[in-house]
């Protein structure tokens, strides 16, 4: 019921000094049903972050509209949780205080809040780390805290901008499984931006490949790998020949786009 719908989204940035205009996004149209997992891929500068920021409510589109569950999106809200590339954790708070942040802002009763925090720390695998200061955590653990902090607020949509970009390969794979697990268990709508084609294939029921200048959705895929990832080990999926074929196709598509940018520049 609570679908995310984007209609004719346009975003044009104007450089205040030179007055030159950049069409970051042009005529974006899509809708995302509740519980869908969407990954977005595209060459650098094609407007992925801009799109995400608009859905989160940090930016207003120059034209077009977005709605979630029938309500127009006009600013940031608890319904749309956000996970940043680098945690954006509050380093002056402990792990549980970070997770607790949204609940405290809502003035949730203490006992109830504590139960929720503990539950989510368990789910993301951080039981026992509640009193650790966040600056003492590793990068992977910090992203787990960021996930828990977002999920404890029970948002309808979770937006992630390269959430695993700063992690090493092994931690990354573990986090990918975690995201799939969370997706299945919570049934949340998840929109995830990534630079890695493999990750986009693994973490997307649907996958948008975006193209730059102006930023638009170039091609859409429907993929079975996320569903499979819930039951099979991720490494096995990666060795699947179908997986390899799609990967090669998308890679050469993005390669061509990059060529075009370089040639045009």
């Amino acid at each position: 019921m609570s679908d995310l719908i984007c209609k004719n989204l346009n975003m044009t940035f104007t450089n205040p000094q030179t007055g030159s205009k950049i069409e970051a996004l042009k005529d974006i149209n899509f809708s995302l049903k509740k519980g869908e997992l969407l990954s977005v891929l595209g060459p650098s500068g094609c407007g992925k972050t801009t799109l995400l920021n608009m859905i989160a409510g940090f930016l207003n589109p120059t034209a077009g509209s977005m709605s979630l569950g029938g309500n127009l999106i006009e600013g940031p809200s608890v319904e749309r949780g956000m996970v940043f590339q680098q945690g954006a954790l509050f380093e002056w708070l402990t792990v549980s205080k970070n997770v607790d942040f949204g609940l405290r802002m809502k003035k949730t009763p203490k006992a109830e809040a504590k139960k929720l925090v503990d539950k989510w720390l368990n789910i993301v695998g951080l039981q026992g780390f509640g009193d650790t200061p966040t600056y003492q955590l590793s990068g992977g653990m910090q992203q787990r805290v960021a996930l828990a902090r977002c999920l404890v607020n029970d948002p309808d949509v979770i937006l992630m901008d390269e959430p695993l970009g700063a992690l090493d390969a092994l931690t990354r794979e573990k986090m990918q499984s975690l995201i799939l697990e969370l997706w299945k268990e919570t049934g949340k709508t998840i929109l995830i931006i990534t630079h890695s084609v493999e990750e986009a294939l693994l973490l997307g029921e649907r996958l948008f490949v975006m193209a730059p200048r102006p930023g638009r959705i170039h091609k859409e895929y429907k993929l079975p790998f996320a569903e499979e990832g819930l039951t099979k080990p991720l490494r096995e999926i990666k060795h699947d020949t179908r997986f390899g074929d799609v990967r090669e196709e998308i890679l050469s598509m993005i390669w061509d786009m990059e060529e075009e940018i370089m040639g045009g520049a």
Partner: protein, 642 residues
Amino acid sequence: MLSWVSEERAFIAAVVIILLLLCFTISIFIGVKQTAFREKDEVFGDPERTLGGWYWTITGVSSVLLLWFYFSWGIGRAFFPEAGNEMCQIAKLETAIAPITATLPINTRYFKSTTLTRRNSEQLEILLSSMPTSIFTKIEQSELIEIIENSKAIIGVFSNQKNQSKESVAFLKKISSDIRKLSAELRLGFDGYLPTKEALAQPNWGTTYIEIPLLPITSKGVLFDSISNQASIITKTFLKTRNNSDAGDTLIESTKKKISLLKATNKSSVFDEDILIRRKAYVKAVERIFKRLDDGTIFPPKAFDGLNYAVTDLFTAIDETKGGLKLIDTLFVPGAGVIKSRTQCTEQGSGRWLPKPTDVIASFLKLANPNIEAGGGYKGSTLFWWKWLPIADLIGFIIPDKIIDLLPGEYGRHSDTGNFQSNYKDNLLALAQGDIYLGSIPMLDGHIWDSVFRVLVALILGIGLGVPLGIYMGVSRFFKSFFDPIIELYRPVPPLAWAPLILTIFGINDDGKIFLLFMVAFAIMVISARTGASGTQLSKIRASHSLGASNRQILRYVILPNALPEILTGIRISIGVCWGTLVAAEMLAGTTGIGFIENVARVVSNYELIWVTILIMGLLGLAFDIMMRRIINKTIPWRGKG
């Protein structure tokens, strides 16, 4: 106990110095060993190399203290407590014969007669060659030339052996033999000379305001003292000795007449004002040199040979009799040594302005004594103590009287019967003026507290107003642009440049100083809070928006803690700058505070007190800074790790 410590400070210093020497040598020994031990496994430039090394700290501190003891003559006084007194007796002797020494080539290169002859002859030549011929008649000119030639002739007469009076020859002979007797007496040694009871009862070196006891307390000192008494009698005779001769007297008389004649013509003749002034000036110059010659202080070249020999020998005798004192003087008493002025012996050299560590401590203990009647404290206030503060005073200080005036109703009037019944407004006024006794609370008191209190109040006001404004300036275009020019215009002015104005407006009491310090703290706090607030990462702010925080919650729970490191650093800087400004402001005006003490000490040249206040200021400043560093490390362990 305290008075024992005070009187025995030389002994205590000796113990401390020995301990310091031990610390110094042992720590160097450990340091060298440790360095050799670590040499193998450390790379040059490794920052770890600078960690630890307490032994070098001890070496540094003890060498500074030893240097202090040395240059303040502390070592000399500690180990040779009688040396100062003995040097004082020798200084007495040297002062007693100083007028004789001054005529001889002992501390100078020439006999005084030679110097006088040379200088006067040269000046006479100059006068002769620069005579202004246009303003004197031919006759006057020849008169002037004759006066100058006469003056030269007088020098010649005095310098001639044949003209020296028999009387003066005999006098000089007698003086020389008397001085030789003194030398002989010195060489006999000081056995049998005993100090008087009165002398032994004198306070020790440096324990009272009289620096060095004046009466001799050792046999050697008694000897020098008695010789110096005889020497001053000899000197008196010497000062009366004149080189008079008949030839000289006639020349002097005739020249005197010529000069007065010339002066008389200056009076009678009618001259131009300008020319008159020039004539008078020239005649006066000639007369001045003549007057230097007519008192018989120039002697023939060989006249002082005997005296010179006798005095030189006396100094040799002094040196011989000094014995070990000479070594002490050169090794442990840097500077000119002890000097005898008219009524007392004083230390000349670094010991004069660099008080001995023990004296500084004694001075501090006296200052720190909370019992003012017993001479403690300074200028009617303790250094750091407590007192009962009436609560009414506090209320009277906080509530302005004017507020009561604004209340509805009128103040009471006297009734027909002449009674006065106070109404509620009168009662409130009494409260606001601090006239109602409400009990007392214990409160800190004293010069240090006064200084600290001023800084504290100014800091609290500066933080309380500066941090919120700074944070708003960090997030709001209006606040930033509106307040930026105001603060940036007054901030670069050195705080002390504001002092004269602010002390005039607010008065020299606490208000003015607190306001001055408040200005300092406020600007620093605004700028640091603003830097901290505007440095908040955008992603953190966006995250908190997505987590449902309101704007106020974001200010309180995200921007404020994010700015905390900068705010605490700002507080640390504020404390330092406020402390420095306060002390200077207290030196400008005021009646209490550390800076006030130093200012008074400066006026009365009390170097010990000046050093005490400097040390108190430095130590308090250091204590504040260490405290702030602790607080910073405790409250923001995440600093630099976010």
